[in-house]
Symmetry: C2
Subunit: 326 residues, 2 copies
């Protein structure tokens, strides 16, 4: 299962000639999750070849216009395309009411249901989307108003069944295959067959965190723990550290510190202030702290690849421990 | 005074890779009027070099998303740019309430006042903006819901004073100059001096009509009477005439008939259905009826040039007669 991260908009607040408003697509098995949806996102989706009908969920981090004014047009386009299957929209409390009042988006007009998942301003964490294959967790960050960050994480899946080996061991029944895939031993001709005798090593689960707008904070670090890819806002360079503090944003070096502390494998920075024509300087500042940093490149496809820690090596990320401690 | 018409978005309903959502800018003496404001209009303004701070008024024709979802981002950007002078927003009844409920656009948050001019669904015509130099008139068209068309028209201005000739006739006082410019005769050394002795011929007033979304209709024709440039929607070709009727839109040939009947000098068609990769065929169909037709080209600047009818020639357009009959 290939998963790709596609930054659609890397500008902050005001779009520029070269940069669009906040949105990042996660495309996985023909389905798309969209993190933030600034104005013009549906146009960027067209340019990226991300089909709006394949959209499964939209996550709105907060109610600053550059992060959600594109939701209206996107929902309207889905209606015009005659979508009939449900769409999940995760956002701050009040988002259902807000959307429902926009002419053209009243629930009785839309030809598809919208499942709104509202995040209360007082929430400390929440699983905002869960399927059999992955979950998305939200935590409140530190911004001027309620703003959430998100962590996408695949669930552990069993390895592929080595059919030939199973047959050699006399296991031929579908029910046994399913039990083995569920991690349970079966009996074949009086012999106990353990799952790891017939299953490949499980594919490592991939993870991704979307953190912004925010000051560098504990919640961002927790969301990013051990992820394969962290998208963190880096609105300013270090010369604007005071302004970052005043406005509830992060500098590139601060984003890099979160990446380093959380044990993320790769950092993409975005949400650049319009004052930076070229974010190269911000990348330089970040790399001093966290080497594997790049500026998020709009429309570029970043494969989300999980790597299994080598045997005996203590992994930086321990998803189960991470879950346990919450 | 140069006036230019700049189509910013010529798509209908759903944007395409090449065409953006509805918006047309009228730029005149460093100020801009914006007709409709589909999602992404502020980005198209950047690309067209149309400065948002110079915006004087936005006219929203109706409450279909492709015509107004870009208003939110534009208003937010003006706030971020710290605009302090008023902006006029003309739109259907309810627009003030609608905008005021959007997070980030509450009246108490915006650093500039918005003068909302609401068009009642029952209105038959209204002057929705008037300055010393021009006026904008709105009339309801024939669409699936209330939708207005607009006519921009410069007021007649006096011709330039020929200072040398005035001095020859002994007129030297500023007060006399002003009277002459107001069309009043003055007395100099016992001799009566008429305005046309010292003033150039008055520059012809320019006019523009923005008509869409609509069926071809009487109100569109009245708005377009004698204009130098008519922007009329032409969502479909003639093969889709039934669909145009059902959806409250016009075909290219229907738009051309309105141009011909109204005596418009030039027709730009836009609001093309996404099914037409290239609107060339629509232009062909329109030209059979009205020769001076082009497909509106996004970001192209169309000069709005008024032409004075030659002496003795009955002008196609008679702005004063037009006003008289209302």
């Amino acid at each position: 299962m290939t998963t790709e991260i596609i930054p659609l908009g890397t500008a902050s607040a005001i779009p520029t000639r070269d940069r669009h408003l906040s949105a990042v697509a996660l495309v996985r098995g023909g389905r798309t999750l969209l993190f933030d949806c600034g104005e013009g996102t549906q146009l960027q989706m067209i340019r990226a070849g991300v089909k709006p009908m394949r959209l499964q969920a939209v996550f709105i981090s907060h109610f600053h216009g550059d992060h959600f004014y594109g939701l209206f047009g996107l929902l309207a386009t889905l209606a015009l395309l005659k979508r009939s299957h449900a769409l999940t929209v995760v956002g701050p409390q009040g988002i259902a009411d807000l959307v429902g009042r926009i002419p053209g988006l009243e629930p009785e007009w839309l030809p598809y249901p919208v499942d709104f998942v509202e995040m209360a301003p007082t929430m400390s964490k929440a699983i905002v989307l869960e399927s059999s294959e992955y979950r998305v967790e939200a935590r409140p960050l530190e911004h001027r108003e309620f703003a959430a960050g998100f962590r996408f994480e695949e669930k552990r899946r069993p390895g592929r069944l080595r059919l030939e080996r199973a047959h050699e061991l006399g296991v031929k029944d579908y029910v046994d295959f399913r039990l083995l895939k569920q991690g349970k031993a079966v009996t074949s001709g009086g012999r106990r067959v353990e799952p790891d005798e017939v299953l490949d090593a499980p594919p490592p689960p991939a993870s991704f965190a979307y953190v912004g707008d925010t000051r560098p904070c504990e919640a961002g670090e927790v969301l990013a723990r051990g992820v394969d890819l962290l998208y963190h806002e880096a609105t300013f360079g270090s010369e604007m550290a005071d302004r970052a503090r005043e406005t509830g944003h992060s500098t590139a070096a601060e984003a890099a510190r979160i990446a380093a502390r959380s044990g993320a494998r790769r950092l993409l920075i975005g949400h650049f202030s319009a004052r930076y024509d070229d974010p190269a300087r911000l990348v330089e500042e970040a790399r001093v702290v966290f080497k594997n940093t790049d500026a998020a490149d709009e429309l570029k496809r970043y494969p989300l690849q999980a790597v299994e820690p080598a045997a005996g090596e203590r992994p930086v990320a321990q998803p189960d421990a991470h879950r346990g401690e919450q």
